[in-house]
Each structure stands twice: as C-alpha cells, then as structure tokens.
C-alpha cells in the first residue's frame, strides 16, 4: 500500500503525529511516506506542534483521597434491598384480577404457611444461641 500526501494528512488527523502508534495495517505505509516525502515530514512536524498546544489545555488532578471517599460513601449506603416477602407475593398476584381483600387473604395465608414451615420443630437450646453470639463477638473483636 502506498500512501499519498492527502491520505497521510488524514491519517495524521485521525491517529496523531506519532506514526509508530498508528494501526499496524497503515503504519508501514505511513513510515514510507515520511521517508520519501518532505511534504509529509512537514505535515508531521506541524501536527506535533498542534498536539503540543492541545496538551497545554488546563487539567487538575483529582483529590488524592477521592477513591477512599467513594468507597466510604458506598459502605455507608444501603444497597437496593431485595423485595420483601409481602412485596414478592403482591407481585406474584398482581396479574390475577381478584378483589383486594381476596388477594390480601391469600397473601397472608401463604405467608403463614411459609412461616410455619420455617419454624424449628424443637426449641433452640440457650447454650447454642449464646455460643453463636460469642463466636460473633470474638470475630468482631479480632478485627
């Protein structure tokens, strides 16, 4: 592929003055154009000066603690909660065109069954509960 001066000018605008950083498929043609054409070398120099001007644009660095502030702010925030049981059941029944009292009764009934199934059949020994609390306290103390 041979690159003429007009194509070289377009590539300079699109890919910048550093020909070594041009996409591989046009890099060699760009280097060859520079080797054989004074006009292309002149355009490249002009492009370098133009880019130096663009780089002089004002820029401020972020506060050094920006990342820490973002992380702290996130930890203080609750994530969007998953829908509760009632909301979940309401969503399940919303497409059924039933009167509101019937829907409420059905939701309460299902909730009751679910709670009933989840309850332990035997009481939790007091020792076991306090052991779990102690484990939790030990873990937080260690932090």
């Amino acid at each position: 592929m041979t690159m003429d001066a007009e194509q070289f000018r377009e590539c300079l605008l699109i890919h910048g003055a550093d020909v070594q950083r041009w996409p591989e498929e046009i890099r060699r043609a760009g280097i060859e154009a520079l080797d054989r054409s004074l006009e292309c070398r002149s355009m490249q120099e002009e492009c370098r000066q133009f880019e130096a001007i663009l780089r002089s644009r004002a820029f401020e660095a972020p506060s050094p603690d920006l990342a820490f502030r973002i992380v702290s702010a996130a930890w203080r925030r609750e994530r969007k909660a998953s829908p509760g049981v009632i909301e979940f059941l309401a969503a399940c029944f919303q497409d059924l065109r039933l009167p509101a009292p019937v829907l409420t009764a059905a939701a309460v009934l299902i909730l009751g069954v679910v709670i009933g199934l989840l309850l332990p059949t035997e009481p939790v020994p007091a020792d076991s509960e306090s052991a779990e609390v102690q484990t939790f306290l030990d873990a937080t103390e260690a932090l």
Partner: protein
C-alpha cells in the same frame, strides 16, 4: 484493601460486587478512579464537579451492580466510560458554563507577569474553541486524544461506528486548527 481482590480482573471483581463484596468494590474504585475522573473533568472542566460525577457513577454501580450485564460482552471500562460521559454531559447541560475570560484579568505589572498572561490567555483561548465544538466532536477528541482510547474503543463508548468516530476526530481537529491559527498569532508564545 484486600490484596487478592486487587489481583482480580474487572469481570471477576464485578461478579463479586454483585454478591455484595466490599473489598472487590474498593479494588475496582482504586483501580479506575483516576481515568474516569479524567474523562469527567474534560467534559465539565471543574474538579469538584468531576469528582461528584465519578462518585455518583460508582455509587450507582454499588447500589445496582445488576445494571452491569456481563453477558453483553462489553468491557467494564467501555461501559463505565459511557456512564461517566453521559453523567458529565447531563451535568454540563444543567449548569451554565463559567466565563472563560476571568483568567485573563489576573495580570498585574510585576516582571514575569506577561508570560503568565500569555499562558493563561492561550489556555483560555483553547478552552473556548474546544467548548465551541459540537458535543460529539469534543467527546471523540476527549476519548481518543486526551484519554488515549483507540478509535474503536471510543466508538463503542459513544455507540457509533469506527468511521463515524474518525470523521468526528478529523472535523474536530480541522476546526480547532483553523480557529487557533489566527487566534494564536495574536497571542505570542508564553511560558509553557
């Protein structure tokens, strides 16, 4: 910060963030804050505003990590550049631009102040012509020239094709060259 989390790639961190992992979130934030601040700053030209935009974007990610859909095969950075860019452009539309001429009035008669004036004038001039460009041209230039994204990455961020990005960059630079050429002749080279 968790060293193990900092070694993970973005996709793995995001999977852990979706499970509520704070350390993964912290790693992702520390890894990318500067680059996203930079693109936000180029759009709004104000440090505090740019910081607010980046913070807002990351907090949205923390609250709704499900918004990042890995199945779409988009790189996290590409997707998040688009998020930050949109927030920046919205912010700029809501807020009136600051007068660029303020900087130029800072000159006094002390030695060396001429160079400072010229430097500030050139910067103000550059900001002025840059902000006069159409929004999409500015964005293409910011992403490719200032942020160093490839043309294809910029195209993905902007949701347009490669040729369209290249066309935007060409038009932006051609316009800038024309406008700066005359103006910079009137403002002598100052201290850089």
């Amino acid at each position: 910060m968790d060293d193990r989390a900092s070694e993970l790639d973005d996709d793995s961190l995001l999977r852990r963030i979706q499970e509520g992992d704070h350390e993964a979130f912290a790693s992702l934030v520390h890894r990318h804050t500067k680059r996203f601040f930079s693109v936000a700053y180029r759009i709004v030209q104000h440090r505090d505003d740019a910081e607010d935009i980046v913070q807002g974007a990351f907090l949205k990610l923390w609250e709704r990590p499900d918004l990042w859909d890995q199945r779409k095969q988009t790189k996290f950075t590409t997707w998040f550049y688009a998020v930050v860019t949109n927030l920046g452009l919205d912010h700029r539309k809501r807020k009136r631009p600051l007068p660029l001429s303020d900087e130029i009035d800072l000159v006094d008669g002390r030695p060396g102040q001429d160079d400072l004036l010229h430097h500030k004038q050139r910067r103000a001039l550059l900001d002025g012509v840059m902000l006069d460009l159409p929004e999409r041209q500015q964005l293409a230039l910011n992403l490719c020239f200032y942020e160093g994204l490839s043309n294809q990455e910029a195209a993905d961020v902007m949701g347009i094709n490669l040729k369209a990005v290249q066309s935007l960059i060409m038009r932006a630079k051609t316009t800038l060259k024309e406008r700066l050429k005359d103006a910079l002749v009137k403002v002598p080279q100052g201290a850089e």
